[in-house]
């Protein structure tokens, strides 16, 4: 067997063009197959990871009716690594219709709390989500979930309103609403967003007795972990691409059991995206199949011509005692070796493409990409290539070995 394989490789030297063309076809098909399928797997898996952390309280709002909003979403989405794609700690957004008093040390009475905001699913990605950074203090951790005293992270401007020039870290905020924990210790301070600055401005106007159409609202971030069934102690979490009344509207409507056409549940979004991804992968796999078949047909045609050149070789082998089966087997091995070489080269090219493109792909790194390079993704193109070359090489091989021994020996 080893001799036959060695002989096959020696034969490739004699038929360089045929071997090259066949191998190039297989390399293209194998590369496309590997890259597309691994990317599709990675995307589906990423989506699975995202939605795994959600529960039935979670909804995704996708209101694309407003073109400007869509542009904004797209800009934000491209610019920032949207954090709802990261597992970790999420943040409750407390929504209250009633006045909420914040009791801070000297019993500072705060304004009406009536805010809505998009959530920050991963505290580690504050800076990526709201274009804000943790200026000082810390992010949430696992212990924060266990502590009887709740912790919170607030914006810098809000901290200044509450605590003046004092260090807000370690200070307490109390609320008189039905929030799960009424006393929160400040552990981190975020930089201000435009919304926060507007809130402070509104607050100052209210304090000065100036009426303002807007109600000041302040986000108060508290931690909750994905998948820990702690949602019953928190308000509903809304994961959305935009912060607008639509979010709140969607939330109210969904709570009232009404249909909201632009609101999607975890399942519906995941199914929709994974189906689209699968359809895309299927189309590409069909293209790969066409490339493979074209390569196979080309191989067949090339082999028929090359077999005319190889008739003396067949004659010599027959004269030396090879029967039809042995010659067919040798050609079979030769074609398989060619297919395997092409597939291995294609996999190498595919892996190179994946490694070089992974850092630029959405939500993908080289490490996470490699998780999706499974054995079946490697074995399928190898088996497919070997099958195509052996199947399409068989008929020309059969034609060659059935020639009369004297006529093939004399063939010029």
């Amino acid at each position: 067997m080893l001799n036959i394989m060695r002989n096959s490789i020696s034969i490739f030297k004699t038929h360089k063009v045929r071997t090259f063309l066949t191998i190039v076809g297989i390399i293209i098909a194998t590369t496309v197959y590997l890259v597309v399928n691994v990317y599709a797997d990675a995307l589906i898996s990423t989506l699975s990871d995202i939605y795994e952390g959600f529960d039935s309280h979670t909804i995704l709002i996708r209101d694309y009716l407003d073109k400007n909003a869509l542009k904004e979403i797209k800009a934000r989405y491209e610019k920032e690594n949207y954090s709802c794609f990261n597992k970790g700690y999420t943040v409750n957004i407390h929504i209250a219709d009633d006045n909420v008093n914040f009791d801070v040390e000297a019993e500072l009475t705060f304004v009406k709390l009536d805010f809505h905001n998009y959530s920050l699913p991963s505290i580690d990605r504050y800076d990526g989500t709201e274009r804000t950074k943790i200026l000082y203090g810390r992010a949430f951790n696992q212990d924060d979930l266990k502590d009887e005293i709740g912790v919170t992270i607030i914006h810098s401007g809000f901290a200044k309103l509450l605590f003046g020039d004092n260090n807000p870290l370690g200070q307490y905020i109390k609320t008189d609403t039905s929030l799960p924990v009424k006393r929160y210790m400040v552990v981190g301070i975020l930089s201000d967003t435009p919304d926060v600055l507007r809130t402070i401005d509104t607050y100052n106007k209210w304090q000065a007795g100036l009426k303002d159409e807007k109600t000041p609202f302040v986000p108060l971030y508290t931690p909750v972990e994905y998948g820990e069934n702690k949602w019953e102690s928190a308000d509903d979490t809304i994961i959305t691409f935009r912060d607008s009344d639509n979010v709140l509207g969607a939330w109210y409507n969904i709570r009232r059991g009404m249909k909201w056409e632009n609101a999607y549940t975890r399942e519906s979004v995941f199914n929709e995206i994974s189906e689209s991804t699968k359809e895309f992968a299927e189309i590409v796999n069909l293209i790969v199949l066409v490339i493979m078949l074209t390569t196979g047909l080309s191989l067949s045609i090339i082999l028929i011509f090359s077999f005319k050149e190889r008739l003396p070789e067949i004659g010599i082998k027959k004269a030396l005692g090879a029967n039809d089966g042995v010659i067919l087997f040798q050609f079979f091995i030769e074609n398989i070796v060619m297919g395997l070489l092409g597939a291995l080269c294609g996999l190498a090219v595919g892996l190179f493409v994946l490694i070089t493109t992974a850092p630029f792909a959405l939500q993908t790194t080289v490490v996470t990409m490699f998780r999706h390079i499974t054995w079946d993704r490697l074995l399928v193109p190898i088996l497919m290539s070997a099958s195509v070359t052996s199947a399409f090489g068989f008929i020309p091989s059969l034609w060659g070995v059935k020639q009369n021994i004297m006529s093939v020996l004399r063939y010029e």
Partner: protein, 214 residues
């Protein structure tokens, strides 16, 4: 190996090339088949070498009748009992000398390689220096020596030579004849050789000449 040819006839279209040929070739003899070009000597050799089949007649190896319809049996004889040395060498041009000599084992798809015989052959045919050269860069004499080594590497009982000196100069031709003669005597091989020349008559134990038998 004793070879018996009995009433062999062969025609190509309307031309009758062989007409009731009868031969008896004894074991371990150097037998020549002579004749002018186109007389049918190569056709006869090809039939004896099982590369071609006769229209009529029988062929016996050691009194065993050869059935030309059984392709697998013919392939067995060609691989195990017969060695071929062709006028045009029939080497695989892109393979090395070593690979060419080993080609019969690849064709038989089994390993009965005898390394001592191999060493002896490359010594005898003086091709040790050529072993890893590609065969298409060899001279005619070298190619013929490689072809002879390939024919003998499976230790066949019958060696078929189709004008092995046809493409060689006189020195190389005589050297080849001497080698074949030595092998016939020392290894007790039956050698059947086709030639159109009378120059080598002295090497043959017996020969068949189209037109007369000596």
């Amino acid at each position: 190996m004793n070879v018996k040819v009995e009433n062999i006839c062969k025609s190509f279209k309307d031309k009758k090339v062989l007409n009731n040929i009868n031969l008896q070739i004894c074991n371990a003899s150097f037998f020549g088949i002579k004749g002018n070009s186109g007389c049918g000597k190569s056709t006869l050799l090809n039939i004896i070498g099982l590369l071609d089949k006769p229209d009529f007649g029988n062929l016996y190896f050691d009194d065993i009748s050869i059935n030309f319809k059984k392709q697998s049996k013919l392939a067995f004889y060609r691989g195990n009992k017969i060695g071929f040395i062709f006028q045009s060498y029939n080497l695989m041009p892109k393979l090395s000398v070593h690979e060419n000599i080993m080609l019969p084992f690849l064709c038989l798809n089994k390993d009965r390689f005898d390394s001592s015989l191999f060493d002896k052959l490359i010594e005898t045919f003086k091709i040790k220096e050529l072993l890893y050269k590609q065969s298409d860069v060899l001279s005619g004499g070298e190619k013929q020596r490689v072809a002879a080594a390939r024919a003998l590497v499976t230790s066949p009982d019958l060696i078929i030579c189709d004008e092995p000196t046809g493409n060689l100069d006189s020195n190389n031709a005589r050297y080849m004849m001497e080698l074949l003669r030595d092998i016939c005597i020392s290894e007790k091989k039956t050698i059947i050789m086709v030639t159109h020349s009378n120059e080598y008559d002295s090497f043959f134990d017996n020969f068949y000449s189209f037109g007369e038998t000596i």
